[in-house]
Amino acid sequence: MAAISIRELTKVYATGVRALDGLDLEVLDGEFVVLVGPSGCGKTTALRMVAGLERITSGTVSFGDRVVNDVSPRHRDVAMVFQNYALYPHLSVYQNIGFALENKKIEKAERDRQIRIAAATLGLGDLLGRKPDQLSGGQRQRVAMGRAIVRSPSVFLMDEPLSNLDAKLRVQMRSEVLRVHRSIGAATLYVTHDQTEAMTMGDRVAVLQGGVLQQYDTPRALYDRPANVFVATFIGSPSMNLYEAGLSTDGTAGTTPTVVLGSQRLPLPPPVAARVAAYQGRKVIVGVRPEDLAVSGAGASGLGAPGVSAAGASWTGASAAGAPGLVADVRLVEVLGSEQHVYFSVDATPAASAPGAAAAADESAQEGILLGGAPNGVARLDPGSGVRPGGRVTFAVNPARLYFFDPDTGRAISLLSDWPLGLAGERRSKRAASCN
């Protein structure tokens, strides 16, 4: 049985703003579920309704099999960590943590024991006598956690608890939060706008956009099988490259179906072609992840690389690596040490992606000096790729790693789940492991 069941949860404000629209969500016992989405997507509203701090317009929230819509927050047995901690400034750390136990009229000795256990769990043992203004940001965050865990709640809510910490501490606290979660085992609903947090922390992740649930699945599935354009761009950093393209059979390669991308063509092998058969001869949105692009064999950089005609850049049937290629002009290279982000432009129209996707896109594209026109794509390459701004490059593309979306609905056309992972896939999972 689910610890938290949310059914058709809707919030309409008096102003008519529909903050949340028919949210369905289940959190199992001991599960860590992340609600993620751009700001204003309704995730905090949803959390506050679960906590009882916001009135529910329609739908139900249940804990176990008990509908709690009309239960006051103080009787819900819910613990919540607030974005700005909301510590009681005039009370010591000890009193802050113990406040909930005081309210439950727990006897003093027992209270003291529980406070000390919670404090020890979070490494706050030496700070019990301090007031919040004598604590650093990380310590305050820990006190906020302590205040929540001391009650051994059945439901644990967190509203962007790490967003006020600096980058380094945030990474550190991520594992801390997970460790605490495992030790208390309560069903947890965690709200964040940071897709990295969602991917690294969640057992399951619910992606919200405009008050509507886009997809609710494991991080891996969100990444591999995004349900629509929004999820595709929101999950993954840098964001997936999306282009308007056509699917045709009457290309140069005879009966082989091809993706027509601007003036470039990419033949699809039969298994891939079968999945998009229904869109034959129609327009699609084609997506490729930055980490699925690799510089193909010979002539990695520089103008006039062998095998590439300078005038009409085209998908080549087979590059030196044996995979089809995508010719692009490099505009900007960001060296991150362990990897490079290569911003390029191809002669294709970037898809006017789902609203909000632009906000989710990597802002770093706007930084730095751009050479000749705005880039419309990004690749994540090894630092030794030798790619330089101003050069022309051919990216090897594994057709199996392409994503296809319906241009009208934005929905995914086919799923990648059972496709064999290509070279890029292996590379990606290696990366995913190293960046966690």
Binding site: A51, G52, L53, S72, P73, R74, H75, R76, V78, A79, M80, F82, N84, Y85, A86, L87, Y88, P89, H90, F99, A100, N103, K104, R130, K131, P132, D133, Q134, L135, S136, G137, G138, Q139, R140, R147, R151, N164, L165, D166, L169
Partner: protein, 329 residues
């Protein structure tokens, strides 16, 4: 509010380590030094030295204008009636009668009543009225600031609107209502109206909106606290500086109230200082047989002294930063 303080230290530096447990004196010293550091030289405001001198001179003139009556009352509290009228007002004169004048306050003059009784009455009215008004302002301000309920705006505007009604306009109805309610010559007739403090409600509402964050109340609710407990345990401590302001204002308001006691009291024993001294002052001009003027001057000095002391006591509550560390921003 906290941003400037926080940004001066590295994000996760331990602030308490840099600032070990300090005594109250050390803390005051540090705060003084920090204040001095925060002073920005006038040049950085883009002001010329000359402008600053002129502005400072204006301030000094205004300060003198304000302080002159207080200086006068101090000098003249040491004089005999003859000297009050016969010597320079801004210096001492022989004989030095300060203590004699002070002693006279404890005597029944002209059968009007004793100053010290009136002082006691005033203190009683001010304490009960002031504390009561502060408490009610805290309740009402908290309600208006932190709860949404139907009609809250209208009610609040009514409270504020009551400020616009001059007391003179309601004297007659007030008297009639009081006589029906048997509040004439009753201390409750003085105290009950003093409990109503629209300014206090307004001030507390504003103060609570700034200093008692909604999240804190939400957190307390989720922590299982009842609304009563949230008010007394969480909100009230954070409201203290605002409460002290309201307390001072309402105590001063009751202390200096002349008109209300004038119309409701006919019994000299219930008079507050304002009405009692007004009576003296009338007798001083009409009869003139007693040496009443030194008493009035001394009485005036003793009347303002408690308010000055109260202000000095309460001013330590006007320290910001009570919320420091609670809310990250």
């Amino acid at each position: 509010m906290t941003a400037s303080t926080l940004s001066t230290r590295p994000p996760d530096a331990d602030p308490a380590q840099a600032r070990p447990a300090e005594s109250r004196r050390e803390r005051r010293k540090r705060e003084q030094l920090e204040e001095r550091d925060a002073v920005i030289p006038v040049e950085l405001y883009g002001l010329k030295r000359g402008t600053v001198t002129v502005l400072t001179a204006c301030c000094v003139l205004f300060a003198i204008f304000t302080l002159v009556p207080i200086a006068w009352i101090i000098f003249n509290s040491t004089k005999t009636q003859a000297n009050i009228f016969g010597t320079f007002g801004f210096w001492f004169a022989r004989p030095f009668e300060f203590f004699h004048n002070f002693r006279m306050l404890f005597e029944n003059v002209d059968d009007d009543g004793t100053y010290i009784d009136w002082f006691g009455n005033t203190a009683l009215y001010a304490v009960l009225g002031g504390v009561g008004a502060t408490a009610l302002s805290a309740f009402a301000g908290y309600g208006f600031a932190r709860f949404e309920f139907r009609g809250s705006k209208v009610l609040f505007y009514i409270v504020i609107g009551s400020l616009l009604v001059p007391i003179g306009a309601i004297t007659l109805p007030l008297y009639l209502v009081y006589s029906k309610a048997h509040l004439i010559n009753s201390i409750w007739g003085m105290i009950l109206p003093s409990l109503v403090a629209p300014v206090g409600v307004y001030l507390m509402r504003t103060y609570i909106r700034l200093s008692v964050p909604r999240e804190l109340l939400d957190a307390a609710r989720l922590d299982g606290a009842s609304e009563m407990r949230i008010f007394f345990r969480i909100a009230l401590p954070l409201m203290v500086p605002g409460l002290m302001t309201v307390l001072l204002l309402s105590v001063v308001g009751v202390w200096n109230n002349y008109f209300l006691p004038l119309i409701i009291f006919s019994n000299n024993n219930l008079f507050p200082l304002t009405v009692g001294m007004g009576l003296w002052s009338q007798h001083a001009t009409t009869s003139g047989d007693q040496n009443l003027y030194p008493l009035i001057v001394m009485g005036g000095l003793v009347t303002i002294a408690p308010l000055i002391i109260l202000f000095l006591i309460l001013q330590r509550y006007w320290r910001g930063g009570l919320l420091l560390g609670s809310i990250a921003n």
